[in-house]
Amino acid sequence: MINKEEVKHIAELARLGLNEEEIKTMEKELSSILDYMETLKKVDAEDSAITNYSKLIENTMREDKIKTTENNAQLMGAVPEMEKGFIKVKTVL
């Protein structure tokens, strides 16, 4: 159902590091779960809509107003690596 290469590709898309052992387990487990999901292919749902909104909600709007947050220090305090008040990340390009 799903092969090793696909598992590696999906893991990269999902930004998940997997070791060789885990790739093998994922291959097996995902395959059995996906087989189970295959049962849906036989069901006809063509006429059904794809959205599921509550009838009670219609376009929730709010004013586009600038607000200041009071907990900046707390929020920034959680950042693992910072420099001059900015979040530091590795080179992107």
Partner: protein, 474 residues
């Protein structure tokens, strides 16, 4: 008098009449936690000082003869996925092991306004993914009814804390049964409210179109008190809605109860079925009309659920990237990609990674239409099934789970068998309906929960119907 045995109303009356103080109640519960948490492990963290300080404030109000709200001075516990400002919030994940919340969830704000005493944060399956609380990064919670067994999940700590008298009530979250299943396994009441009835602001997101916060309590009356305290529209959650709850007294005479034939099939423990059937019989004897109904798309619910829930999870959990907060390998990694890969590899547990993988797969190019779109369409069909059933009946009765609490370790190695245990609860989340687990008897000497499902925003009806069973003294 053992204060930790009392329900909300009894404690409130006692406080107002000055039979005991909030500090006495709080100390009693802290003592219970001290005594039992080592074995049960319902709590991940206990906020002793802030709890006692809050209790003191309520006692001062009572001394000044001020009127106090129902939940003032009453000790409670929060699933560790609900944010309390200044307190750790881990979602039972290593990736958030040292994370401190910087704001209060709306439900916390509402409870604090009432003067609630928050005792601590409860254990759960990591990011609410699981049915047994065995997926916590910090250890398993044991079922107080039998410590060799799981408490159910994912709000297992919240249910165990109520069942073991380690709090009066607790809050959990329910994405596919995560309040109702542990309530059923531990013998407490557990309500999953209508989607949109309670603000999700400050609840860490798992699957946003399914998640709801709800109470776990000792009694149906308590569930209503807590529900009333936390419900309502919130500008910070645009999916929340304001509706007026109907407050009509429900009479069991002539009450139409639907029993879906698709829910009583093989795979259910015959002892559990017997307890559920006997419960339905009691309602019939009291004058209710029992009707067999059909929910034809029941068999698709589980695959539909796991496609939608994992899709939403793979997107929601992308935020845990080792950059902004939480566990990070940024200092030991060479590239940006490595920071992501390694932080998430080390920080996230097996089940969470499995679900992120599944969700990413079903959303990926080439599979999106076959899985995600198909699941969304079927979700509407499942919703329609319920709507048609509620044209004929007032409420629907089903078991919460096909089995009683299972042994620790029994299902953890086989994810699919664990998923199958949610078969009776997930349709309700897909349809956005309210449902409550109410204790209705015992099988194999372990609690069995009856699931009462109602139409959208019929929580009050569900409470009255559940109350009938409670009065009957099951």
């Amino acid at each position: 008098m053992k204060l930790s045995k009392l329900d909300i109303n009894q404690l409130h009356q006692g406080l107002v009449k000055k039979e005991f103080s909030s500090q006495e109640i709080t100390k009693d519960f802290l003592e219970q936690i001290e005594k039992k948490n080592k074995e049960i492990f319902a709590y991940l963290s206990v906020h002793k000082e802030s709890a006692l300080a809050q209790a003191e404030k309520v006692d001062a109000l009572i001394a000044e003869k001020k009127e106090i709200p129902l939940l003032a001075g009453i000790p409670t516990a929060m699933k560790d996925i609900i944010m309390i400002e200044g307190e750790k919030c881990t979602a039972a994940s290593k990736i958030l092991a040292d994370y401190t919340a910087s704001f209060d969830a709306t439900v916390i704000k509402k409870l604090k306004e009432q003067g609630a005493v928050i005792l601590g944060k409860t254990n759960m399956d990591e990011f609410a993914m699981g049915s047994s609380t065995e997926n916590s990064a910090f250890g398993i919670t044991r079922n107080p009814c039998d410590t060799e067994r799981v408490p159910g999940g994912s709000s297992g700590g919240s249910a165990a804390a109520v069942a073991a008298d380690m709090c009066v009530y607790s809050l959990g979250s329910d994405t596919g049964g995560s309040i109702r299943l542990p309530a059923s396994f531990c013998g407490t009441v557990g309500l999953k409210p209508t989607y949109g009835r309670i603000s999700r602001y400050g609840l860490m997101a798992f699957a946003s179109s399914l998640d709801q916060i709800g109470p776990l309590t000792k009694t149906v009356a308590d569930a209503k008190i807590v529900y009333d305290a936390i419900k309502g529209k919130d500008p910070l959650d645009s999916t929340s809605v304001e509706v007026k709850d109907e407050d009509k007294k429900i009479s069991v005479k002539g009450l139409k109860i639907g029993v879906p034939k698709e829910y009583f099939v093989k795979g259910m423990d015959p002892e559990v079925e017997k307890v559920i059937r006997e419960t339905i019989k009691k309602y019939e004897q009291e004058g209710a009309i029992i009707e067999e109904i059909s929910l034809p798309s029941t068999s698709y619910a589980l695959p539909v659920y796991y496609i939608i829930a994992t899709s939403e999870a793979s997107s929601n959990l992308a935020r845990y990237d080792g950059i902004k907060y939480g566990f990070s390998k940024t200092k030991d990694s060479k590239s940006l990609l490595d920071v992501y890969l390694q932080s998430r590899e080390e920080g996230m547990g097996e089940e969470v990674r499995r679900r992120i993988m599944l969700g990413t797969y079903v959303l990926s190019a080439g599979y999106y239409d076959a899985y995600y779109i198909k699941a969304q369409k079927l979700r509407n069909i499942i919703k329609r099934d319920f709507a048609q059933a509620f044209e004929k009946v007032d409420v629907i009765f089903t078991p919460v789970s096909p089995t009683v609490a299972f042994k620790i370790g029994d299902k953890i190695a086989d994810p699919l068998s664990m998923y199958l245990g949610d078969i009776y609860t997930i349709s309700v989340n897909l349809a956005g309906l309210p449902a409550m687990s109410t204790p209705c008897g015992k099988a194999h000497n372990l609690p069995v929960g009856l699931q009462i499902i109602g139409p959208e925003f019929s929580e009050n009806k569900i409470f009255s119907v559940g109350q009938i069973l409670e009065n009957y003294g099951h």
